[in-house]
Symmetry: C2
Subunit: 452 residues, 2 copies
């Protein structure tokens, strides 16, 4: 089976979906329930350790909708499941997504109950978008959010993604490169990820390289003769001894010594950095940078930066790569309108807002102070954030923004947030999100109708 | 760019790697450092909420090694990075993995410091296996471990994987289906994942289906006419009212009513199940099963099962899908021997065991009581767990075990563990893992040599 539309950015694997999307699709087809539906993608709560989420993953969702087809081999596979009639499978052959999509631009900070995406399409088309769009927007939003916290904690110091080996599979690692870049990370160790997204690829050396040589000094000499501007890993045996071997090599090579820095990967990074800095400076190697890695995340980086440890760059792996403290978000994709009528779930704790909506971000003196969720068609003060990104199944210019634009937007929008919302600690009070009176009235009216 | 060797199980994307693997590769090539190396893949600690890990992902790692090639387009991409000489790129054209691999069978419970995998190959080949093998074995081991806890908590009740929408990308969702199956899950909602791995695909209906109809009763009637043996979702509005509508439908249809069950997806699942059971039983619908979903994991399932709530099956999503409480494991791939000499890192807290090893599982009265890590060539009591799975780059029979075998092994081996190790609560004492005297002496000798 070919999965060639997966990692490539040319999405469209129609079978990457929950079974119920397809059984419901057959039911909608059978019942001729093809009127216009609106679905909203949003989360109800932020996890305790997040003050905002950074919207990301729209590009993959739109690519999926553009390319969504049921191919003959896929139809044959569906037939084998035994749930579907021949007439329905025949209908699937010409199935296309022909709807409209409204979305927040990638890199926009987003808060509870605000739609990241609204899909407006005939019910079956809007329904079937669910599984893949959620999978990608959830993943990339979780990772971009985490990365933005790491980059903010690093306060301008370089952050390199080292996560691929313990991220959740190849797709997470490849998409993660782009989500991390949106969040403010500077480079990645992931060769394919960097090449796919045109992001700088970086790396140093592993302990195994040092260990495979008869001595650490010999390993340093060999590696820097091939890669003169490399960064040498000094903690394989005894860290400060390792630093002294770098100094010895500098003396040995004289002007030919061009090594850019050293890497610490274990122990008390701040303390070792201070000791290493002293050893390097005393040898006249002030220009060498200290690069730190090893179980880092935004909290540890914040601590290191606040301690004024002389560390210029961070390699951040698993804790960012799986968003270890908050690996998921309660993102949901809910029907909010069908055939011109608002629709709501009334399950306890799972109430939603009906119809098509707009999110307005209200600024005062260049700062974002609060958001307002309104009906899509009501005038409100503030900047409307949801924009049309797809019409009749075709991407609009706003659906083609580049990765660079997303990164720039994230940096700008994060800088505008109240500083306590941008901080690592839980924001008290949380960023304000209001619901317009008109939308509240709509919700009340739908609730009354449903209760009847 | 094609990613067609990713999701397909036909692994071999040579550029899915950390940059340093390739820069080290060039250095090894340049230095002609091609002697035999041994790398061990293991974790140093179990997370607090895990008493064992369930080895999984070997099949993907072996497939990768079998298919590892640097294709012409990949070589052109590497050239564009500017790190590699033409002579080296030429050498890469014929690069193949020609080594041996020893591994634990998938589905084997594994404990700290025990190798899941040992790779024995010329240094560059063994080195370059790192990033992909870790990515896959880490992912699948984390997910299989989590799934086994969920399945154990369910005590034989059906567990269906509902995780794909919030799992970390497409690869995690597709591989997850197989890892969950190894761990004891019965079916998946993931159509492509189920088809790829020949695992039952299951699903019910979404709230949107109910909402898109003028009434819940109408939605139930329509869906069950198309899928007579379906499970009806009853909590879109008011749960017990929803159950009453199922009863009404049963009365209306008489013998034609074949619905298999109802699904609860919100609220106090145990309490609602009891109330729903009462309503169903009073209507003579004893045969309808109650299916529960919504933020479930092993802890909540354990609570529900212990409360004797009348729930027969669980749909488990995000919390299992991202292994929310423990989304990563400190898995590491370390050089332990080169050119016939044991190698060790001595960084604080990161000590390792040199050379090739064997893990012996010692049983008493049919129970696994402790493990012993020894040299690969020393006789010890107990069952040796590491077996040759690849020789000279070709899979051996033990490298071709089926998914069903892995699932059966997991069930058998888990049943043999001491009950406090199989329990959800942290095991005190932890399962015993000893290191043989011969291996301890080897480690000491290498440590002394390194320290000189």
């Amino acid at each position: 089976m070919s999965g060639d539309r997966f990692a490539s950015g040319d999405e469209g694997h129609a079978l990457f979906t929950d079974l119920y999307e397809l059984t419901m699709l057959q039911a909608y087809w059978k019942e001729d329930r093809q009127q216009r539906a609106v679905f909203s993608l949003y989360f109800r709560h932020l996890p305790p350790a997040r003050n905002y989420a950074l919207a990301c993953g729209l590009d993959a969702a739109l690519s999926y909708l553009e390319h969504l087809r049921f191919t003959e081999p896929e139809i044959a596979q569906l037939r084998s499941l035994g749930f579907f009639s021949e007439e329905f499978l025949e209908w699937l052959r010409s199935f296309r997504f022909t709807g409209d999509v409204y979305a927040l631009a990638e890199g926009t900070p987003v808060f509870p109950n605000e739609p990241l995406l609204e899909v407006v399409a005939p019910l079956p088309e809007a329904q079937v978008a669910e599984s893949f769009a959620m999978n990608q927007i959830h993943l990339q939003t979780v990772l971009a959010t985490k990365a933005s916290r790491v980059a903010l904690a690093a306060q301008g110091r370089t952050v390199v993604d080292f996560g691929m080996r313990r991220m959740h599979g190849t797709d997470a690692a490849l998409r993660g490169v782009r989500a991390f870049y949106v969040g403010g990370v500077h480079a990645t160790s992931n060769v394919l990820g960097g090449l796919m997204h045109d992001i700088p690829v970086a790396g140093t050396m592993a302990h195994s390289y040092i260990q495979a040589h008869e001595s650490e000094a010999e390993a340093f000499r060999r590696f820097s003769s091939l890669y003169p501007q490399t960064i040498l890993l000094v903690d394989t045996y005894e860290t400060i001894e390792g630093v002294r071997k770098v100094v010895d090599l500098a003396r040995e090579l004289g002007d030919a010594f061009q090594v850019r820095g050293i890497r610490l990967d274990s122990g008390d990074l701040a303390q070792l950095a201070r000791e290493a800095r002293k050893v390097l400076d005393e040898a006249g190697l002030e220009r060498l940078q200290i690069f730190a890695s090893g179980d880092l995340d935004e909290y540890r980086i914040d601590e290191i930066v606040r301690s004024e440890a002389p560390i210029g760059a961070f390699g951040v792996g698993t804790r960012m790569g799986v968003s270890r403290d908050e690996p998921s978000l309660d993102l949901a994709y809910k029907l909010t309108e069908y055939a011109g009528t608002g629709r709501l779930k009334t399950s306890p704790g799972k109430a939603s807002l009906p119809g098509r909506k707009q999110v307005f971000r209200i600024e005062e003196n260049g700062r974002s102070v609060r958001d307002l969720i309104g009906r899509h068609d009501e005038p409100q003060p503030g900047r409307p954030l949801l924009e049309p990104v797809m019409r009749d199944g075709e991407r609009l210019p706003a659906g083609r923004r580049t990765l660079r634009e997303a990164r720039e937007r994230a940096a700008e929008e994060l800088a505008k947030l109240p500083s306590h919302v941008r901080a690592l600690e839980p924001a008290r009070p949380a960023y304000t999100v209001e619901v317009s009176e008109a939308l509240q009235r709509d919700a009340e009216a739908v609730r009354e109708k449903v209760a009847r």
